[in-house]
């Protein structure tokens, strides 16, 4: 009986080790889009190599110590009738040894740790894209002071270029986390915290708030869209149109009301009317409206909302149906969200708003 339980015990004790190995060997980024184990940015690589160092030592120690433990359990099982074992109280040599050896192993972790602390603590020199990140309950705001862009939830960055984030919060403590590109850093109101990274491939990298920040902490997602330089440049050019940071949100004549009236684009006119009278304008900046130039409003800037792939802080795909659901009853979609309609919108208003918002590419 002891024999079988010993084997079972051994199997069970090693299960977590097997799990860890599986996790390193078997998981691919496509299975876990938010993984920390497949870094795609230089900051994340620094962290990852340190992680692998600690994991290696942890695994070695784990196998050795658990191995000895299981061996001892197996080897020294006894019966009540057995003679009393030798009454050893201690062994100074052994005790010194197992104090010193772990300390030495720790040094192998400590040295690269301290090196990495200093390497990650400040942005590497050279040309950088500066972006301000502001956490809100429960969405992310991004401002590109140099490029004069304000956007939300989806962070566009160019590939192979260092991005320097200056991060703060508009309300409570949040934590900005982009696992595959960098790591996480808490953001505090009235304080700026740095983070930087250089993405090495283009693609779509999800992340999310990592510090508990209230009711909808679980739905405070974000995405980082790493673009090739030409795509990024085009995106920048598009976003600058109507940006609050460019001529206080003034739009070109081709996007003015009179232009739409001339082309008979009733959606833009009716949608805009719904935007103004439905109450959206109280919280959202929008190109072509009176709030276009404001950066202090409570909700995300919607000037280019049609160009985003998701809405509601990464919760829903940006489709007409989802947008319609969201505008019909935001509290049903995301309970407690600060998106509160002053009055229910009519069917017509919603239809026009959906078309209007999606048209703002």
């Amino acid at each position: 009986m002891h024999k079988s339980t010993g084997i079972l015990r051994r199997a069970l004790v090693f299960a977590p080790a097997l799990g860890l190995l599986l996790l390193l060997a078997g998981c691919a980024a496509q299975d876990y889009p938010q993984t920390t184990l497949q870094p795609r940015g230089d900051f994340a690589h620094l962290v990852d190599s340190l992680f692998r160092t600690t994991l290696l030592w942890a695994t070695v120690v784990f196998i050795l110590v658990e191995g000895v433990l299981v061996y001892a359990i197996f080897r020294f099982r006894g019966k009540p009738s057995d003679a009393e074992p030798s009454q050893v109280h201690g062994n100074t040599t052994v005790e010194i040894l197992w104090t010193v050896v772990p300390a030495v192993i720790l040094a192998f972790i400590a040295v690269p740790t301290v090196q990495t602390i200093f390497r990650t603590s400040s942005t590497p020199p050279g040309e950088v894209v500066e972006i301000e990140v502001i956490g809100h309950q429960w969405w992310w705001e991004y401002r590109y002071p140099g490029l004069k862009i304000v956007t939300a939830n989806e962070l566009h960055v160019p590939v192979n270029k260092t991005v320097s984030l200056k991060m703060t919060s508009g309300d409570v403590v949040h934590s900005f986390w982009i696992p595959q590109l960098a790591a996480k850093r808490d953001v505090f109101p009235k304080k700026y915290n740095p983070l930087w990274f250089k993405a090495e491939v283009t693609g779509d990298f999800p992340g999310q708030c990592a510090e508990f920040c209230g009711l909808q902490h679980g739905r405070m997602g974000l995405r980082v869209l790493v673009d090739s330089q030409p795509v990024f440049d085009a995106w920048v050019k598009q976003q600058q149109t109507g940006s609050p940071l460019v001529d206080a949100g003034k739009v070109p004549a081709s996007m003015s009301d009179s232009a739409y009236r001339a082309t008979g684009d009733s959606v833009m006119l009716k949608g805009k009317l719904a935007f103004m009278t439905g109450g959206c304008i109280a919280c959202h900046a929008m190109a072509g409206t009176a709030t276009a130039g404001l950066t202090i409003l409570q909700g995300p800037n919607l000037s280019h909302v049609g160009s985003r792939t998701t809405i509601v802080a990464g919760m829903l795909k940006n489709t007409p149906t989802n947008l319609r659901h969201w505008l019909t009853d935001p509290q049903a979609v995301k309970e407690g969200s600060l998106m509160k309609l002053p009055r229910p919108l009519t069917e017509d208003e919603i239809t026009n708003l959906v078309a209007y918002l999606r048209a703002h590419q």
Partner: protein, 611 residues
């Protein structure tokens, strides 16, 4: 054995005292221990139910079993309950019952203060949970990070129940810590020098020091928070110049020693069980003592490792990282000494031993993932993810709960006079070990693959579904394992009291007296010559005779008193009144009434004959 039962009913007058009033007025450390144990176990089950609902909610992606608000209440109360109302008072049960017995004392040094601690603890625990009935269970996390807890972002009473309840519990902890501290210093049997104390007493002793030094800090932080919420200050409110980071510092200056408060008693229990069931003394007794002292001392210099993501700067990061790694050394020494204890022994596989060995195996894993967190850059990926959740459950469940359960199987026969069923105990162990690993091992994988903590759900497509589903299955197995324990306990309690005084051939003094002990513990105070007095005696005599119950006539015992309860109610009303602190409401009438009751209780207590 039969005669001892007979004699028990015939001779022992003290146990004739029964009924509710005798429990309310009791100052007997053993009865108070049982009260702690019963209350804590109920709270522990409540915390377990909360955990299981959490697991059901996370079983599938985008699940809507519970609302986000209720989920946040569940995880807040799960953490708060398990730490303050589960593991700490379960340890307190063993402190109460076994510190006096192990050091050969008749009671703790201040029996009425002991009763006071228990009542304050119970009222505090009920107070925090009372929020449930007002739809205001605490919901800002057991760590209560400012400024989410400010009146602006947490307007309900939820956080008030938490802030005030924790202050009440803090008073209970400090009062109990003073009591046990002095008890261990001063009530030891003749010959029991500090370096002959049982290891459980040693680890408990260190725990009391940590309680004394850590709880004042959280008390101050809670007072600040209460002032922010009700009295117009801005300690943690940025708009008024306050800094939410200060909360984090004060919280973790308390919070890290608190981790050792939760685990050191477990170390002590395991250090009692392993030698007895290896039939071999503890390996490296002195090293065990000093590693414990070292862990406690260093425990005050590592708090900021909970805050690497806050951006403290490279020098602070490096300092707190290295101090944290340093703690791994004495912790490793303890693990190696436990293995050294079983090495060369003659291992007797009784249920307590199963849990003690399971403890070592699981604690190693928790310790190693802890070392992985101590590296700040790596921690920037791990913190606030399920990797951390896995880590501290391996320490606090795989560690503390396994050890406490082992302690229950080891010591319940002494407390109740009844043996627990061995087969059921082993089923309990295997189910718990399997369920535990199924629940928490996958959390390592989830955390490293990007699942953050404290989220009420997760979207499909991030790869989290499979592991979460598996974890919920594991949690169900844990639930079954606890049911096995409860059934075992109930069945055992319905049987006659026929446990021998020394069912395991123990080494320490509690096994020298009948099970359960008589009210006065020891008919005469024993002399101690080593850390294993009973083994010495057995070696001397060849075997130990079953101790007989004797008349306690002439043995002086403290009188029962209800003033500790009165004083506890005073504390409860004083602090509870602040819950009603609204403008234009005379809440201070309630608080002042509480102060009056407290003073009344304390004065009557002080001038009451102790016996």
């Amino acid at each position: 054995m039969a005669t001892s039962v007979l004699e028990h009913s015939a001779v022992h007058h003290a146990e004739a005292k029964s009924g509710l009033w005798s429990w309310i007025t009791t100052v007997d450390h053993k009865r108070i221990g049982i009260l702690y144990g019963a209350s804590a176990f109920l709270f522990f089950l409540l915390g377990g139910i909360e955990a299981f609902v959490i697991r059901l909610q996370l079983m599938t992606a985008d699940n809507t079993l519970v609302s986000p608000e209720f989920y946040n209440q569940l995880f807040t109360m799960h953490g708060t309950t398990m730490i303050f109302l589960g593991v700490m008072p379960l340890s307190a049960m063993f402190f109460n019952y076994f510190i006096p017995l192990q050091i050969g004392a008749r009671d703790v040094v201040f029996p009425r203060l002991n009763a006071f601690s228990y009542w304050v603890f119970l009222l505090g625990g009920l107070f925090i949970n009372a929020g449930f009935f007002f739809n205001a269970w605490p919901n800002a996390g057991w760590f209560g990070y400012a400024n989410l807890t400010s009146a602006q972002y947490s307007p309900g009473l939820n956080t008030d129940f938490w802030v005030i309840g924790l202050q009440i519990l803090g008073i209970a902890s400090i009062a109990a810590a003073v009591n046990f501290f002095v008890t261990i210093i001063n009530m030891r049997a003749p010959g029991m020098t500090l370096l002959r104390m049982p290891m459980f007493v040693w680890m408990s002793f260190i725990t009391q020091i940590l309680l004394l030094l850590a709880f004042p800090v959280i008390t101050v932080a809670l007072v600040f928070l209460m002032m922010d919420r009700h009295f117009g200050t801005h300690f943690f409110i940025p708009a008024g110049g306050g800094d939410p980071i200060l909360w984090q510092h004060l919280f973790w200056i308390f919070g890290h020693p608190e981790v050792y408060i939760l685990i050191l008693p477990a170390f002590g229990i395991v250090s009692e069980i392993l030698p007895v069931f290896s039939r071999k003394p503890l390996f490296g007794y002195t090293a065990m003592v000093f590693s414990g002292v070292f862990i406690a001392f260093l425990g005050f210099g590592v708090w900021s490792h909970h805050m690497f993501a806050t951006g403290m700067g490279p020098f602070a990061d490096a300092f707190f990282s290295l101090s944290t790694m340093l703690i791994a050394v004495p912790t490793g020494v303890k693990i190696f000494n436990w293995i050294g204890t079983i090495w060369g022994g003659s291992l007797q596989f009784k249920t307590p031993m199963y849990f003690a060995l399971g403890f070592i195996a699981m604690f190693i894993i928790g310790g190693l993932s802890g070392v992985m967190h101590s590296s700040p850059p790596a921690d920037l990926q791990q913190t606030d993810t399920y990797f951390v959740v896995a880590h501290f459950h391996y320490v606090l469940f795989g560690g503390s709960i396994f050890a406490l359960t082992g302690g229950a199987y080891y010591w319940l026969p002494k407390m109740t006079g009844r043996m627990l069923n061995e087969t059921a105990g082993k089923i309990h162990f295997w189910l718990m070990l399997i369920g535990f690993n199924l629940t928490f091992a996958p959390m390592h994988i989830l955390g490293l693959n990007g699942m953050p903590r404290r989220v009420y759900t997760y979207p499909a497509g991030l790869g989290f579904e499979f592991w979460n589903g598996l974890e919920t299955v594991g949690a169900a197995i844990i639930v079954v394992s606890q049911l096995v324990f409860i059934v075992n306990l109930i069945v055992s309690l319905r049987r006659p009291r026929n446990a021998p005084a020394d069912p395991w051939h123990g080494a320490t003094l509690e096994w020298s007296i009948p099970s359960p002990p008589q009210e006065f513990n020891f008919p005469e105070v024993p002399e101690v010559k080593s850390s294993i007095p009973l083994w010495d005696l057995r070696r001397e005599l060849g075997s130990l005779p079953e101790p007989q119950r004797v008349s306690g006539a002439g043995i002086h015992l403290p009188n029962p008193s209800y003033y500790p309860l009165v004083a506890a109610i005073g504390v409860f009303v004083t602090l509870g009144g602040i819950l009603f602190a609204q403008p234009h409401f005379p809440w201070y009438v309630i608080t002042l009434t509480g102060v009056a009751v407290l003073f009344y209780g304390v004065y009557r207590w002080a001038f009451e004959p102790a016996g």
